[in-house]
Symmetry: C2
Subunit: 333 residues, 2 copies
DNA sequence: CGTTTTTATGCAAGCGTGTGCAACAAACGT
DNA sequence: ACGTTTGTTGCACACGCTTGCATAAAAACG
């Protein structure tokens, strides 16, 4: 038996006894078509199960309706949340998200963007990694919109959405200071992601200005398990820190858990902990983590609305601020 | 200034001084083209930044390379994990995942499948909700493959991947019994998802066979916060349960947290807790939740391999078993 | 009723590909 | 030398759709 095939506009045209353009117009908002004709077309389409072929339509209109999300480690709570919000808002403007997973090293961001071009995606949104300039140039030259989220670097013609990480980190330091902490540490992964680096730098910068020394520890991927290791390293130092700013809530959860369970410390009495992202787990009563919330909804909104209406300015940069959510892992507040 | 446009095969043909079909053949594996010609084409393509238009190719080949993932609440750990695995494995067979978010009520599963048809997706994988029979029939009639994961219901021509929830739930009961628990409860959301229902039924069934009564409590969406409420309801009963089987790890986390922090109970000494899914958080040292692991990798593999090679049997059903991961939330083990 | 305006519809071209077919050249065998 | 095989290439059509253009029908107007 031969491969089944989708029903085309020709089929429904024949059945409705009209021309092929009539059915095309029926499914094109704003096109001129008589009520009677439309009715017959719709009827025939329904009976046959006809659906406009978006591939072919995209070919004609030069607009596929696809938007590429380029991301690694999708199962990370913050990323998953952002993807959810993006896909939802994209659907609101009748676009649809293509997911490209860049977990594997051989499938890096450049390749992902090439794929996006191959599929004639209307836009690409990069959440992980940093594409080469040559390839981003090709994107904008081809008329593909490009959004970089928390990528920090400049790219001509792209929309860059960044958090004010450095500033938030400074506020973190102040919070620790007010809580009476004197021996501070920064726990980071060794991923070297721009936003993580910025948080580290902002924190250290503020500390230096106040003449406070801060010990930095870096280890592994940006995950819970790394937080465990980081805590073990930090809490066995001869001078045990009484405050740890973690680059990430996941790290912070790992840090808190080992501080409590392995080192029998009380948070926040013996140790203050601050995180970043405000993932769902931070609000769970085992953590009550004080942390900075990323304005996920606003990020997605900025990105999507920029895609929807081509802004006139050629390149755009947008700085959002992270809000400090006070819970119970830092004294005072 | 006019809208920029992607470079087409005609452009690179002109530049390379060959016919358009030559460049098409160059990018078609196995096509007959002279080394010299191929070289010139590749050179020209590189210089111009040419990428084969997958939309047009899909139109010709009647195979878009797109696979639709239909899912709600993507940011749930288990779902996020599954999506990650699916997208990764799809990429391995040169397919690409389209994400359709069915969070919003007005954008339900049927609409999602219609959208998948519009984009001529090679396949759709349904992780949430249950599509109407009429629409799934249209899918298979149109030659679109269909995979239902944990949907439980039968659909002609589709691949149905299901966990042996009922059986796992029976094992859960036995585990509680061995731990010496006599007063058992089942904590469920009121989502009514087939797998959640099956777990509840399996558990109650086993209890009935052993002459043990179990109290069932249902509340809210399948999330942490519902677990909190469920625990509050269950633990304030005149006869407090000494074992709670939760339909889900998220619920279990909520249950454990409130049992410990609000009711000052010790897990597993005062209360045994079992979960389902083995999300990452279950392994965190605040929980050490004993739970059933979904074979996420295997699920994705089954789905993807079925898409890759059309199995001869017309419809296929596949039952996988959940493995019990012993940690510290149940006595014994 | 004749003329102008409006509206609806079909025709055909075009979007960027893949591919069967024929043509052609080169290589090979005898 | 000639027939045969092998390999390469261009032409032209098909895929399913949109849309400008011309035309026909209907409506409006004097």
């Amino acid at each position: 038996m031969s491969r089944k095939v989708f029903v085309s506009a020709k089929d429904v045209a024949e059945r409705a006894g009209v021309s092929r353009s009539a059915v095309s117009r029926t499914f094109t908002p704003g096109a001129s078509v008589a009520d009677e004709t439309r009715k017959r077309v719709v009827e025939a389409a329904e009976a046959l199960g006809y659906h406009v072929n978006h591939l072919a339509r995209g070919l004609m209109r030069n607009e596929s309706g696809l938007v590429c999300l380029i991301v690694s480690e999708i199962d990370t709570p913050y990323r998953a949340n952002l993807i959810r919000e993006l896909s939802r808002q994209l659907q609101n403007v009748s676009k649809i998200a293509m997911l490209i997973n860049t977990d594997r090293a051989d499938k890096n961001v450049d390749d992902a963007l090439r794929l996006a071009i191959s599929y004639r995606a209307d836009a690409s949104i990069v959440l992980s990694g940093m594409p080469d300039k040559s390839i981003t140039d090709l994107c904008v030259k081809s008329g593909q919109r490009l959004v970089l989220i928390n990528r920090d670097e400049q790219r001509e013609g792209a929309l860059m959405i960044n958090l004010n990480d450095r500033d938030a980190a400074r506020r973190a330091f102040i919070a620790f200071l007010r809580a009476g902490c004197r021996s501070m540490a920064f726990a980071n992964s060794d991923a070297g992601t721009p936003s993580l680096v910025a948080r580290e730098q902002g924190f250290c910068e503020a500390a230096r200005e106040h003449g406070v020394e801060v010990v930095i520890e870096r280890f592994g991927p940006t995950r819970y398990q790394s937080g465990v290791t980081l805590a073990q390293r930090l809490l066995t130092r001869e001078k045990r820190p009484d405050a740890i700013f973690c680059a990430n809530d996941l790290l912070a959860c790992g840090v808190m858990d080992t501080a409590r369970h392995q080192f029998k410390l009380s948070v926040p009495d013996d140790l203050c902990v601050l995180g970043f992202d405000d993932i769902e787990q931070s609000s769970w009563s085992s953590y009550h983590l004080t942390t900075f919330a990323q304005p996920v909804e606003k990020i997605a909104q900025k990105a999507v609305s920029w895609l929807a209406q081509p802004s006139l300015t050629d390149d755009h940069s947008c700085k959002l601020t992270a809000e400090l959510i006070w819970r119970g892992s830092v004294r005072g507040g």
